[in-house]
């Protein structure tokens, strides 16, 4: 069974739950940026949690089923989406086309059986920072689809809210180096609306606003970080780490966006389009 990519859109990658347990080797986790939406896509088509999906950035994907396939989209709802949060059967030769997202940034295409490209270091996730994993999806690619392993769930439609447009508020916790910025730095982090810039990618959201000043000088020896970290480089403008962030970083982390199971604010941040604003609340 295969799926032919007629148009890949601005950026489509294969993603799963990522590479776990290899960070000490400099190998980051990667995986879906909005984990919750990717997991939902797999559940709705009866896949195991670690099955690979397509992460479609800013829509624009068109695929043709080369066999009868059950598919679903989750995350950012795209114009023209016919299977959003609601699995459908695509007959052999039928197309699925996604326009631009109405709101949100990343749409997940789940296919019953999973995208069955070869795994690299135990995962099918494309890490755009390290270059590990399958290549970025291109027009004309023919993607293998695996065999279904679990029964199809009896769900017509998952009632989940679409990612919001406009201003978003997410919860933040103090990070390991909050003391490098003092009370004034923290006040600046939580006291303004940050704008998501167009330099953002799977590595991180780059934010623009009033810079956060350090209250102490000196260099920080590089240290381990995970997604959700708000790292503050010398510019004072924080970078919010997402899926393909490096394993260690040399700039102090003032705070972490909450990444709780079933209620991940990092997932919500992964759906922010450039130009949207985000406010951090305690």
């Amino acid at each position: 069974m295969t799926l032919t990519v007629l148009a890949a859109g601005p950026l489509t990658t294969v993603q799963d739950t990522g590479r776990i347990g290899q960070a000490a080797l400099g190998i980051g986790r990667s995986g879906a940026c909005d984990r919750g939406s990717a997991a939902l896509a797999n559940r709705l088509v009866g896949n195991a949690a670690d099955a690979a999906v397509l992460e479609v950035t800013y829509g624009g994907l068109a695929v043709r089923a080369e066999a009868d396939l059950t598919v679903v989209t989750t995350g950012a709802r795209c114009a023209g989406a016919t299977a959003h949060n609601a699995p459908v059967r695509l007959r052999a030769g039928e197309l699925l086309r996604l326009g631009a997202p109405v709101s949100g940034l990343r749409t997940y295409l789940g296919v019953r059986g999973g995208i069955d490209v070869p795994a690299v270091l135990g995962s099918r996730a494309t890490d755009v920072l390290s270059g590990l994993g399958p290549p970025v999806v291109h027009d004309g690619d023919v993607l293998p689809v695996g065999a279904a392993s679990l029964p199809l769930p009896d769900v017509d439609l998952a009632p989940v809210p679409d990612p919001p447009g406009g201003g978003v508020t997410v919860r933040v916790l103090p990070g390991p180096r909050a003391d490098w910025f003092g009370d004034a730095g923290w006040a600046r982090l939580v006291g303004q609306q940050w704008q998501v810039t167009s330099e953002s990618n799977r590595v991180g959201l780059r934010l623009d606003g009033e810079p956060i000043d350090r209250v102490r000088t000196g260099e920080l020896p590089s240290e381990g970080m995970v997604r959700g970290a708000l790292q503050v480089p010398p510019s004072g403008l924080p970078v919010l780490f997402l899926a393909d962030s490096p394993v260690t970083g040399g700039y102090p982390v003032i705070g972490y966006v909450r990444d709780d199971p079933r209620r991940s604010d990092v997932d919500r941040c992964a759906q922010l389009q450039p130009g949207q604003t985000v406010r951090f609340s305690v």
Binding site: I20, I27, G224, A229, V247, P261
Partner: protein, 203 residues
Amino acid sequence: MRVLPSGSAAVLVELDDLAAVLGLYAALADASPDGVLDVVPAARTVLLAFDPAVTTADAVGEAVRRTTPRPSASGTGEVVELPVRYDGEDLAELAGLLDVPPDEVVRRHTQTEWTVAFGGFAPGFGYLVQPGGNWDVPRRSTPRTRVPAGSVALAGEFSGVYPRESPGGWQLIGRTDVAVLDLDREPAALLRPGVRVRFVDAG
């Protein structure tokens, strides 16, 4: 030891020095607390990433406090031998900076074993330390945009081998043909924290 908060899914343990990092990492790598997905050593810290559906930051922090560090520098016992052609572009200039002949740099680099302390710069890159090495190597003032794969390099107290072509600011002293990262090999990365490395002058 200080246990610092690192969000919903990690804690960062800050230690006095690299020896303490190696000792704690060796103990944690052998027996990670329940729910811990990744243990990441660095120069002064060990990060523990955990699954918040399974455990909590408090529980992981408590387990770390109860962990007895291994005596440092004991490594894992595994030894990797890396033959090196010491013809690196920076060898002569570096020898001048250290005020020794180039042969002496090679002798010091090969005379005793190194230990992989931590990774992080790129997949498969290890920061190697040499007990008693007393290296203090300045980085290049202008980093190279392209360092070839297999380059053996020095910076600060560390030595390293570039797993793949990448930018880099370390001083290049030689080159090895051994692939320190091979995605089709198990394990893919040779230079894992705790592994001991012997550099051999391949002429």
